[in-house]
Symmetry: C2
Subunit: 261 residues, 2 copies
């Protein structure tokens, strides 16, 4: 057979809602590849990534009331487009987009549109990942944008019997600025991050560690770009995107999930 049937594309396929920020969507796609056990190109899993940053309102600005445009609308539209393009399971590469006022709207719109595609929840997948890898850990420190902070989004971990430790409002403001600063912030420096970003981030990690965190969740998709490790002074550092990537793989091809020790 010389010709593939294009309809075969619509088997099981991963869909990623990117653009929030753009680098985070790409990073999730890359993590799916890194967590897939395959030694050849053809063993890797089908993926579609949609990244429309200019159409996607800032999540934190919506949550804090600065803007009125709910990102849930465009998220639901993109998930519809992902389904139409062949994706059967989707994830949103943005923590703040999982705030109930955004995520629940997206889910409701998906139901109204009659979509069949499944949508993962990044916090639930983080809980599963923590339970699987470090079953004894009961307290985790959360580093995030202010959007995630004010909604206490990661308190959803509490329902999985994991206690959450947050920064003080003053420290939170400084961390948000490390992510969002217009010239020096992690978002602005995408692709050109320096050691200074990592050092500043480690300072915030140390603060939550001192408060009793047994693991640290980098609860903003930009933060792992600046850190790039799995431990800080012996404390596990958890990237929710890795947890989500593994959940996506498990859905499509569980036998291809890379073993974690």
């Amino acid at each position: 057979m010389e010709r593939e049937n294009p309809d075969q594309i619509a088997g099981r396929c991963i869909g990623i809602v990117g653009g929030m920020g753009p680098e985070a969507g790409v990073a999730l796609s890359s993590k799916v590849i890194a967590e897939t056990d395959s030694s050849s190109d053809s063993g890797h899993l089908p993926q579609i990534l949609f990244s429309f940053p200019s159409l996607t309102p800032d999540r934190t600005a919506f949550i804090t009331g600065e803007i009125k445009n709910n990102p849930g609308y465009i998220i639901a539209d993109l998930i519809e487009r992902l389904e139409r393009a062949g994706a059967t399971i989707a994830a949103i590469a943005c923590n703040s987009a999982h705030a109930p006022q955004i995520f629940d709207l997206a889910r409701r719109l998906m139901a109204e549109k009659g979509l069949k595609i499944e949508l993962l929840h990044i916090i639930d997948e983080t809980a599963h990942y923590l339970k699987e890898r470090w079953p004894d850990i009961s307290k985790v420190g959360i580093l995030s944008t202010t959007g995630t902070y004010v909604t206490r989004l990661y308190d959803r971990l509490n329902s999985h019997e994991i206690e959450t430790i947050w920064l003080s409002p003053k420290h939170q403001e400084r961390l948000h600025s490390l992510i969002y600063h217009q010239d020096r912030g992690i978002k602005a420096r995408a692709g050109r991050l320096g050691e200074e970003h990592r050092e500043q981030l480690v300072q915030f990690m140390e603060i939550v560690a001192k408060k009793g965190a047994e693991a640290i969740v980098l609860g903003c998709t930009e933060l792992p770009l600046a850190f790039g490790g799995e431990k800080m002074k012996g404390i596990p550092v958890v990237d929710p995107a890795t947890a989500t990537a593994r959940a996506l793989i498990r859905h499509i091809s569980p036998e291809k999930l890379k073993k974690r020790v």
Copy 2:
């Protein structure tokens, strides 16, 4: 206005044919972000990435006659799907896929399907990039897969008055193995590349430099993943994906193209 019109998505939009290998598609998407001048998420450009590795026959295996299934069919299908999803300009994140027997078939099928989307040619964009940044360079060394090597794909640079320098068949075989080796190769180690890959690659760079190359083209999308620099002992190292990323940006929003000095 609370609701974005989803049809607005179909303005100008970048489409990337990925999956060859999967990491190369993601890398091209990431380079579009890195080469875009924007300090906020919303200033970045719309992108759609399709990655269907299992449906995409190996390019080198087709070129060398090991398999009969022309990857041009699936490439044309994916470009059709990209257009349907809203993309207006596309690029293929794979050098070997630009071999005439593959690329010309894809272009012919695109015409038969009546597609309006534009498709860039990675080698022509590499020539434009070389001419723009280093107008005095007239000889470049080419490091590539054997698929690209046997088709002498980069000799297309000759029509832009750039001479090409290739490895000997024996060295080429070793370079191909560095990319494709089932356990230790760059493709197999995607996301976990070590210093040893870089060191081996530099040895091949030195070989073409000794033969008179004034710049080195990393003519396989996996090679820049292993190198990650812009110069080797003062000699410019050119990543065709960067050239392609810049051409994509120029097409969509020339004013957002990051300045190169």
